[in-house]
Symmetry: C2
Subunit: 792 residues, 2 copies
Amino acid sequence: MIEKEKLELPSYIYPEDPWKIIETRFSPKFLPQTETIFTTSNGYLGIRGVFEEGKPSNKDGTFINGFYETWPITYVEEAFGFAKTGQTIVNLTDSKIIKLYVDDEPFYLPTANLIKFNRTLDMKTGTLDREIIWEMASGKKISIKSKRLVSYEHRHIAAISYEVTVLNAKAPVVISSEIVNNDNSFKNGSDNDPRVARRFKESVLKSETFSVEDTRIVLCHSTNNSKMTVASGIEHSLETECENSFISECSKDFGKVVFSIDAEEGKTINLTKFITYHTTRTAPHTSEELCVRAERALNRAKKSGFNDLLKGQKKYLKDFWNKSDIKIAVNSDHEKKSTKKLQQALRFNLFQIFQATVRVEGAGVPSKGLTGEGYEGHYFWDMEIYLMPFLIYTSPLVARNLLKFRYSMLSKARDYSKQLNQRGAMFPWRTINGEEASAYYAAGTAQYHINADIVYALKKYVNATGDYDFLFEYGAEMLVETARLWSDIGFYSQRNGKKFNIHGVTGPDEYNTVVNNNAYTNLMARENLRLAIDTIESIRNIKPELFENVVHKTKFELKELDEWKNAAENMYIPYDKELGIHPQDDDFLNKEKWDFENTPPDKYPLLLHYHPLVIYRHQVIKQADLVLAMFLLDNEFTDEERKKNFDYYDPITVSDSSLSVCIQSIMASKVGYMDKAFDYAKYATFMDLDDIGKNVKDGCHIASMGGTWMLFIFGFAGFNNSNSIPTFNPKLPKQLEKLQFSITIKDSLIEVDINHKDIRYCLKNGKSINIKHQDTKIELTKENSSQKLPLN
Amino acid sequence: MIEKEKLELPSYIYPEDPWKIIETRFSPKFLPQTETIFTTSNGYLGIRGVFEEGKPSNKDGTFINGFYETWPITYVEEAFGFAKTGQTIVNLTDSKIIKLYVDDEPFYLPTANLIKFNRTLDMKTGTLDREIIWEMASGKKISIKSKRLVSYEHRHIAAISYEVTVLNAKAPVVISSEIVNNDNSFKNGSDNDPRVARRFKESVLKSETFSVEDTRIVLCHSTNNSKMTVASGIEHSLETECENSFISECSKDFGKVVFSIDAEEGKTINLTKFITYHTTRTAPHTSEELCVRAERALNRAKKSGFNDLLKGQKKYLKDFWNKSDIKIAVNSDHEKKSTKKLQQALRFNLFQIFQATVRVEGAGVPSKGLTGEGYEGHYFWDMEIYLMPFLIYTSPLVARNLLKFRYSMLSKARDYSKQLNQRGAMFPWRTINGEEASAYYAAGTAQYHINADIVYALKKYVNATGDYDFLFEYGAEMLVETARLWSDIGFYSQRNGKKFNIHGVTGPDEYNTVVNNNAYTNLMARENLRLAIDTIESIRNIKPELFENVVHKTKFELKELDEWKNAAENMYIPYDKELGIHPQDDDFLNKEKWDFENTPPDKYPLLLHYHPLVIYRHQVIKQADLVLAMFLLDNEFTDEERKKNFDYYDPITVSDSSLSVCIQSIMASKVGYMDKAFDYAKYATFMDLDDIGKNVKDGCHIASMGGTWMLFIFGFAGFNNSNSIPTFNPKLPKQLEKLQFSITIKDSLIEVDINHKDIRYCLKNGKSINIKHQDTKIELTKENSSQKLPLN
């Protein structure tokens, strides 16, 4: 593996714990990391792990998935068809602020004398908990306990339970609960650094209305250009035996409810803050209507109370872990510090995927979830290729929603393709609203493979769930349009045996751009064409009325089937006989090799230290490309090819993208390099907790987290569902003693328990199912629900 | 030839005349064209052909070559090494304004009743003349005659002679002569159209000082970022028998001298306005010092008077035409309208080159000269490849100055190369101050060939002039650094016979970018390496003290010679045996052919109608690339290769760049397609007068104008100086009866007179010289200065 610069975390940051991510000391130095890691989210609403006090903070953030502002993209040298409109997720009003004053002294972490400090992200309760004991100069000791949650059950609701106890005295206590439009989307840009150019020339959120009533405040704001509106509100319950009163006030961008309590020794003051966000993202609303919705939601939340929300969290997570957990036991011979924490990191990854997707309805999954502003809240291909497999096999309904969301962008994809003088539909490389927002086409728009990636996920989804209704009703139309695109941009070349060539595209590897016959793209395009052909033929036979619908919507003509068949049959897949490998593209093997020996660790990622022209002219790979194709299209490669390809590409893959090592791990498993597979597995699993990419401050790498799941399931457990029967053919690395997980295939929930000697399969729920244990077919039924078989 | 949309000019725009460009009607519709065409310039100062009244105008402009403002280039998706600072030539204070009022009625062209209108750019006097008779509603007729010049002899001086005569009455006449900072550089951008994005967020020119004394006004301004200062001034002489008085006033951005004259019938009022510009471009000056310089220049100009300046113009032009004119006679059988005007257009092209270069000292030649703001006043490779041949053979001192100017950028070229992790020096693709200003690297920075182009021009210059002192003193250092660059970015590939490959570059053709082994680049790089080797070996033998100097300045080591020799000897030049042609690059022949049949005329230029990705994946060529290499490196190709290459590339070359058709014409001549050669010749020659590229409004295509000269001299006259003796091997197209021109080779001025039967060579000036007439060697001496030889 390439040696790169690494961040060292001290032992008080994330000590080992199977179900919790803990910080046992106030560590301002690590705020850039912890603010991301401690994010609470439900896929609709996300609040970064910034303290209730608001300060100190590296980068605060509250986001609604899909709530964005637009801005004109300008190019110094413009060309036809370049993306014109940027889209950036909006950093919304900050509603979590709770400021505490005792004896009129403000509680401020950097100066407070902390007898105790503990922050915990609890992956079973879905809460971010903080426990502090603050000793004041006067000797008064204050216990401050808070619990923050973003509700899974009520997706517009978040809440904070804030408990203050003066332990050894009485004292006047003031708690100021606030909501403020900090205009962070505007402020976070920079005037001087062109790399974080200021997107916005003025405030992004303009006040529409505001209201205050008792302890409830509702603010309503709109964006200037995208014309989206958001209502955000807070409401409070105060429980205490102590004397208290409150005043509240509100203006356009700021509201607060200030509670004054005559705290008595040992008597707890318990303030619950309910938070809500409602937007016009899903339906047109006036600001008044949004405010009404916000008030209704706050009323309901207050009525049922914090505990009710907490119960909901636990229920959702119990269900989640039941279907999605991976349990591992680490071999005691290999109990290195990092390996011991593998279980925790693995669960953290799954938990963050859960937080990024559980209530994502009607939107996509941004590449950072809602944990940060990295990549501006955009949706990319990694949603389909890295995240979808986990969702398909653990939360198929979420998977279906995401595919449906892609379908909703089909019309804009058609428009974009037309604009580029192409037939069919061209899905945007990065987007929120369905329009291409990539301002650097070579590593953006040129990645035509996203079209095939979407189709690939569709196929996997149907495979795993048997949901042919979805395929016929929505999938077919996408298949027609994507097949058309491939058929249009490719051509038959006289020069390589009249094969079907696809030129001028970029594969997943962004260190080799705008190439001819990228093997990954051609393989995936063929798969796309094939699924289009199969689906159209099936639907025509089975559901003629739906077929008519497809014809009507797409103006499909039968002769197109022949076009697609020809293209698929004659698809050119580069292969080098001498080396016995698949060149990544037509020119790849002709390039100069990168001089790894003279590239010091601090020169990675290369893209921050070398001009693209320098990178592009060398054999150096940012992320698994052909190796990814081998994983996705298992049946297209022989064992020998797999090994030769891996041996060739692995040493020149620098994995400067977080999407790489998980795939390298899976293929290392496949070809039997188990130590390497385990090393890559650790690298992938600790990606964010160890901040390996040095950019966790911008958000979690949700796709890599999905990759972690894949490498355990498809890699170590050897799960394969590309043939008629789901198969398990595990290869456990010696560093693991045991690997146990659950997986859902066509309504059957199966638990698989692997050690070095045998596997136990258990049907936990649902219908009987046939599976293959290595080469042995077995049936799991209600009667015979658990079977243990030895490993060859 | 590709059929494209064309502008039709009426007969009153540029009627035929061998020495004048004339407009016989006031034609506001054609202002975008005429304002460029009627530019007066001396290569240092340029004033667009906007009326003295200032209005109506499409785009006004006054420029000093190399006087620019900088601005931060921002990218939505930034990458390492991208150019950071934009440079834009500044549109300076407008000093030509003269407003006329008769009976207090303003003279305004669009509403004036014009009895007569005539504008003439006179290519023998170097003046822009206008003659108008204005009939007022009162019946008064006013004659207005103006002559404008930008002095060739005094490069800081321009002048306008403005004559008013009330022909048939007496009347109060007011002439307001003004100078104004319109802030055009700021205003010309657009807030809405991203293609002409506003470069500047505020006024570009900030007032430093201003002064007024009698009829003299001097303003001084500085730029915000580049910190350049310019003093501009006006001074006046009024000659008239009529009673008159004046007042003058001045503020920061505006000054005027208003003359009030009691005009008597038939008595001419003659106002001369002297204009001057002085900048800190060449030396640091305080604004006070600049103002003093400006006043001195105005004093001197006023003292010697307009006629003196006029004499200077004529003298310079007489000398220019003597050394540079091309005379043609068109065969009467082919007297189509356009062909008849060929002589005029050809002279116009040479005249505009003269205007762009005659006093360019200490700067480069912007691709539009000083005729417009197109390409922001930047210097590109076309200076060396398209302009230099004309200069080398007609004005070698100007050529030398331009090469010296390139040399002055060597240090920044070194820095840029280092920044990109490359050895040697990398000259910027586009620049004013020596720093790369290309914001789209694929068709910018990637054009490494500019390094070899500069060296090529150096070689041609030394060849033609014998100026080895320049080669040794300045050239050698450039040669070492450029040879180093090629040696560094290329590599020996195991896969094509251990040849030396150059990957990831863009050739001249910008419709195929970032390719491997662009034939043009590799051929030119080899030439570069060879000249470096030869020069270093010569200098080491002949001028050891200069060699030590080179070693000291470049840290040159002798072993580098071997490196370069190896690279040159093993340079990979793509060749396709089957087709017998040189592929433009490794992949070119594998690409899909462009569908020309289904590309309507209004879809050209392609770059304005197709996404780069769509263009790049097809066999379609913007401009001569391999064909240009065949022209530049005549000896590297056999006749058969030339023909096969031309036959392959010509039909797929759309010539969307103005740099293309001149070269296509030359090669068509070479391979004997004389009709085609003549068609291309006309296309190239009429490029700007007919506004073929539909962008003359942004300035003249100075490089294409240089190309026109080349196609007559290298094409039709068959001039070749790449071997030991200058050779003429003419191929006159049937449409021409006669071609006569002068050329300077090593201090010998030769006139060549070609018809279809014979050539007459005449030594007009200078030393004896050997030349080759077809295969016959002849010597021209003072005694035997004129020889007539029959054509084979």
